[in-house]
Symmetry: C2
Subunit: 355 residues, 2 copies
């Protein structure tokens, strides 16, 4: 959405009505990911892309007719190998694109959501009787549009998981739930090698990384180049500044109770969706005692992932980082790690069907 | 070992005897990883490091006495927080360092092993009656030294796992098994985004990366900057060039049976320790049929990890790469990739005890 914002604002400023085409599902290789947008103005301009050129022309034609009064439409395209080839994709797949005219009030609010990185879910009926109905729900409950309560009941869970996806409602209606918001955050306490490796791996998947250590000598950009933000401070100060929320993973790496205990205690006082700590099983047990002593309720200790990480036999800092980040992703997606070929559930989130 | 080779060869050339100090175990934070070496010549020179400066002076003194006739020794050091601080480590841990004089014949062969990246395991008794006994076993069975058959029976498994570690023999003898050889290799077929992301992640853990695709337009350094080697060729040609062995993971990513089927079939004809392929469960089933049709024995199909990756809810290419590389590490270490806090076994390989 961000890439078409400038054009949309320009068109809106002169009073143009606007159609949006959005990739709502992909199968096999797709040129552009779910959520990719082509915006079309009533005066015939366009911005963005849903397929890097394979199907834009056809989508554009549909959008023009919709701006002239046609009903919104869900279009499915097979990307042939030849088409894929011309856009630099080794082989083709299939994409579903929903095209609709978006009401001005909704466009205006959406622009604000994207510009200010507000957390919100836009529900759009893409198949079913009320095709084209839309509802924008913000994190604080603010709504633009109405209805769709069966879908909007899932707002919090969708914001938590952070993935745009197609929902199937009880009556067969298909709703595209598009999740907006800032990237998840990783907060690491401990300027050790594994901390740098963890920040590096998290940046590679698009997360914002913050690392803190009480010792200015260690929390330096030279030692920790992959932290978007470096904080020199004790755990309490650092947590106060970072304020972990339900989109923040906290990993405590110092191996030293002087830092680990207040860092874990502080993290458990937040909504952090993941609180992980290194250490052998013996040290985990000792640390639990320390945490109980400083007043952490026993039930809260269950939130600690310790020893943290997936059981992949990690050895070096980079391998340990991969193991921990894998567990963080799994926890966020409510998966349990383990080989996919033995897993019973879905593979990709975009194939999700709510229960 | 590589970092001290030049000095060792120089000392050997003038006939000096040589002592080697090796980190054989670490607990909590350690300044240098397992296998790190300090080499000391009989004329008093030294090279390398076992702790970045914390304990080198004491190790050096022991090495000098050993070169004067003292018995080899296993030394344990606690790295205090203050010492750790001075070497840039946020907190201290413990390291065990074994110091010994290494016989000339063994030094000579070891130099060759390291220079030519030969696969070999050096077994050294670090605790027990025969302390200081050494046996070098190469992949092809060549041996320098004798005895230690209970340990050397594990040579193949140690080479496969690729981790230096302490072994405990039945009589309580402790043997440090140091594994030498080139880094593991990742071979990806399919110049797609996930292929680049996978090469990038594998390079971050020190692996050698090779990617192949039949289409020259895709297998370019611009699209796949993280491949150490790019091959333009059909699966059969590429596999013939790469010759995957038991230290090679093969991942097939094209989504197209025209490439996937011969790539998987060819990979199954090798000793590759991992053969993974993308695709939904339905496509996996269809592909199995195709593989049976082209003559792959049913039992061999069990070697395929498909859908490949750990169940972490991966979505983007970078997340999918992390999920696949996590599974590759787990398979190599014979772990199952679930959360460590629920795992019953050991966390780090260096704490390994053979059965």
């Amino acid at each position: 959405m961000k890439e078409v914002l400038g054009d949309i604002e320009r068109w809106r400023a002169r009073g143009d009505r606007i159609a949006l085409a959005t990739v709502v599902a992909t199968r096999k290789s797709a040129p552009r990911p779910i959520g990719s947008k082509l915006a079309i103005s009533a005066s015939g301009e366009f911005a963005g892309s849903v397929s890097g050129g394979c199907v834009e022309s056809d989508v554009y034609d549909h959008a023009c007719r919709i701006l002239e009064g046609d009903a919104p439409q869900l279009l499915s395209y097979g990307i042939s190998d030849d088409q894929a080839f011309t856009v630099g994709l080794p082989c083709g797949g299939e994409i579903d694109v929903f095209v609709e005219e978006v009401p001005n009030t909704l466009v205006d609010r959406l622009v604000g959501v994207v510009e200010r990185q507000e957390r919100a879910v836009l529900f759009t009926v893409v198949e079913g009787e009320s095709i084209g109905r839309e509802l924008l729900v913000l994190e604080d409950g603010e709504q633009v549009g109405e209805g769709l309560s069966e879908a909007s009941d899932q707002t919090h869970e969708l914001l938590r998981g952070g993935r745009s996806q197609l929902l199937s409602l009880g009556d067969g209606t298909k709703v595209f739930a598009e999740v907006f918001g800032p990237p998840p955050r990783l907060f690491v306490y401990g300027a050790v090698d594994t901390g740098e490796a963890l920040c590096r791996a998290a940046k590679a998947i698009g997360w914002r990384t913050i690392l803190a250590d009480a010792r200015a000598k260690f929390a330096t950009p030279e030692r920790i180049p992959s932290a978007d933000e470096l904080i020199v401070g004790w755990p309490e100060e650092a947590l106060e500044r970072v304020r972990p929320d339900y989109q923040t993973a906290v990993v405590v790496l110092t191996h030293d109770d002087k830092f680990d205990v207040p860092a874990i205690k502080g993290a458990l006082d937040t909504d952090a969706f993941y609180v992980g700590a290194l250490g052998s099983r013996r040290n985990q047990a000792l640390r639990r005692e320390r945490l109980l002593e400083v007043g952490v309720p026993a039930a809260e200790l269950e939130r600690i992932f310790g020893p943290c990480g997936l059981d992949v036999g990690a050895d070096s800092p980079a391998e340990t980082a991969l193991s921990i980040l894998g567990e963080i992703l799994a926890v966020r997606a409510r998966r349990d790690g383990g080989s996919l070929r033995h897993a019973k559930g879905r593979i990709h989130v975009e194939e999700a069907q709510p229960a």
